[in-house]
């Protein structure tokens, strides 16, 4: 049985996209990626490789792991900055994939969705395959698709907050509204249970960084996320029972010798 996730025509078994920042050491990062089973990792160009070749040692460590690299435009606050960073990333990492972040607010790191759509349009026209970090707004999602994005990555909660899925209603609506678009919960995941919940909702994958990097034992936490994502996906396929307001005995009552219900 193959239950794979597909982004821009490439298929993957793991549904965990892992960020590579803030780990105690590259050695721990490398072990965490291995134990997470993740096949796609995000790399920040701005901070990790100023000017390209100076960050090469770190980039070589990532390359040695044989994972797909998804460069990001973390920390970009304008369309121009994001587009320039994406162009640099394409040269440095030799990939057309780009996780597009256009930050609207330095303090909350909330995406500037207007700039995001504009930057996505420009990058798609240059041949980029854009993974936009967006809010859970449906109309923004539609605009992103209309300019050529084939993946949407709505937030669960603000970046680094670890609050989990803040707006279940909106995320469910988004899933229902875009049944055939790969959807990735990006940002806000703090616990494996949050990741499991995302997959239970039918999301195709989750992207996270801090929850693993800042865990007491990042390698163990990476494994915990891998397991929770597998559990969430299985649960989605299995079809969950309907919740109800009344208790319902799980042992059949009929046929018991004595029962107060009669």
């Amino acid at each position: 049985m193959s239950d794979q996730v597909s982004f821009y025509g490439e298929t993957f078994t793991s549904r965990l996209l892992l960020g590579t920042a803030q780990y105690p050491s590259p050695a721990i990062l490398s072990d965490a990626i291995k134990d997470s089973g993740s096949e796609i990792v995000t790399v920040s160009l701005r901070r990790e490789s100023t000017g390209g070749k100076n960050g090469r040692a770190f980039w070589d460590l990532i390359k040695a792991l044989n994972v797909r690299v998804l460069p990001n435009t973390a920390g970009c606050h304008s369309v121009k900055e994001a587009v320039t960073t994406a162009e640099m990333a394409r040269d440095v990492f030799d990939t057309e994939w780009i996780k597009l972040e256009v930050i609207g607010h330095a303090d909350t790191l909330q995406p500037d969705v207007f700039g995001l759509v504009e930057a996505a349009r420009e990058l798609v026209s240059q041949g980029f395959k854009v993974f936009p970090y967006t809010t859970d707004d449906l109309v923004v999602g539609e605009k992103l698709l209309s300019v050529g994005c084939e993946v949407l990555m709505p937030w669960g909660a603000p970046i680094g907050s670890g609050k989990g899925l803040n707006n279940l209603f909106a995320l469910k609506t988004m899933r229902a509204h875009f049944p055939n678009v790969p959807l990735v919960v990006d940002a806000g995941i703090g616990l494996p249970s949050h990741a499991a919940q995302s997959l239970e909702l039918g999301y195709d994958a989750v992207l996270l960084n801090t929850a693993v990097a800042k865990a007491g034992d990042p390698v163990k936490m990476a494994k915990a996320f891998a397991l929770s994502i597998e559990a969430g996906r299985l649960s989605f396929h299995a079809g969950a029972m309907e919740a109800r307001d009344m208790a319902l005995p799980s042992t059949p009552v009929l046929g018991l010798a004595f029962s107060e219900t009669f």
Partner: protein, 329 residues
């Protein structure tokens, strides 16, 4: 017969190695490519002997090296300031303080009143903090200068400055390569981690001990120095770029001190510095034996905390034939 030892690199690694060897009776010659000693990473360091704080992200072995190094500095350098260190967080980042406390030890949780007793100028600014009273700090430039003088006057160590000699080309019983990131060509798994720092000066505020200000993106520390100077550091960027401090880093460092106390807003910026910390993939230091050459490297952000302990091991390898599997990797 007296052993002749050559050391290349006069940072904290090279100078403490020279000292540990001289203490054991070796005849030491120290080479450096600069005109003055210690003008690499060691020059820009914070000088915090904060081994318990470092446990927030470092492996336990750094704590062991740190404990030995702290004892070394207290024994051999009169400039150690034994006032502990203080960790605080802005109110909205208290989860970071909790996390810090969960990962470290040897501190007491203190309230705002105690913060004010310890650092009167921070009165009313923080409701809680962590006080690591056994930690200490020193001024790296004073420590380097002190070791330099000591080694010349008391131990007859010969210094050859402005020298581009390679460790491989030196004729001596043993050669210690303490060049830091410069040794990258012979240590392929060594990488650079860029750090940027500032020195500012203001007499509007004074601090007694290093303060760490936690922040999810840019944790910084402020170390008081003589004559109303403060060292603010340091960024950690996966890059071997040695150009000057970036505008973004400067803004982040200054924002952090401004958050610590608005009085820093009036400070003058005395100096900015950038250098590249040498690090192995696990961010732990190593001694690599390559024939008669020992490469002491990978101190990462733990120069003053690691060098004396690593030096002692190197000296015992060279002088007494010992082995230290935990660092010889």
């Amino acid at each position: 017969m007296t052993k002749s030892i050559a050391i290349v690199g006069s940072g904290v690694m090279g100078l403490t190695a020279a000292h540990q060897l001289a203490l054991r009776g070796a005849r030491v010659t120290l080479y450096d490519r600069n005109r003055d000693v210690g003008r690499g990473c060691s020059w820009w360091a914070g000088g915090m002997l904060a081994l318990w704080c470092e446990m927030e992200s470092a492996e336990a072995s750094i704590g062991e090296l740190g404990l030995e190094s702290l004892a070394y500095w207290r024994e051999h350098f009169p400039g150690v300031i034994n006032k502990g260190s203080l960790v605080v967080a802005p109110p909205r980042d208290t989860p970071d303080l909790k996390r810090f406390a969960a990962r470290t030890s040897h501190f007491e949780v203190i309230d705002g009143k105690r913060v004010a007793e310890l650092e009167p100028d921070l009165a009313g600014r923080f409701e809680t903090g962590l006080f690591f009273k056994e930690e200490a700090h020193l001024d790296p430039r004073k420590a380097l200068g002190f070791l330099f003088e000591r080694l010349q006057k008391n131990f007859g160590v010969r210094f050859v400055m402005d020298s581009n000699v390679r460790p491989e080309a030196i004729d001596a019983d043993h050669v210690l390569d303490c060049r830091g990131f410069e040794a990258r060509d012979v240590l392929p798994d060594l990488r650079g981690v860029k750090g940027e720092m500032l020195i500012i000066r203001t007499s509007e505020i004074s601090l007694i001990r290093p303060i760490r200000l936690l922040h999810p993106r840019i944790p910084v520390y402020i170390v008081p120095r003589d004559d109303h100077h403060f060292m603010i550091g340091a960024t950690m960027i996966e890059s071997s770029d040695q150009s000057r401090i970036s505008a973004r880093s400067m803004v982040e460092l200054l924002n952090a001190v401004y958050a610590l106390h608005p009085s820093f807003g009036e400070a003058e910026i005395v100096e900015t510095g950038t250098d590249v910390r040498p690090a192995f993939p696990d961010n732990l230091p190593r001694i690599r034996r390559m024939g008669k050459i020992l490469r002491l490297n990978g101190l990462y952000r733990h120069g003053y905390l690691g060098a004396p302990a690593l030096s002692r091991r190197a000296a015992e390898i060279v002088m007494e034939g010992k082995t230290f599997p935990e660092v010889e990797r």
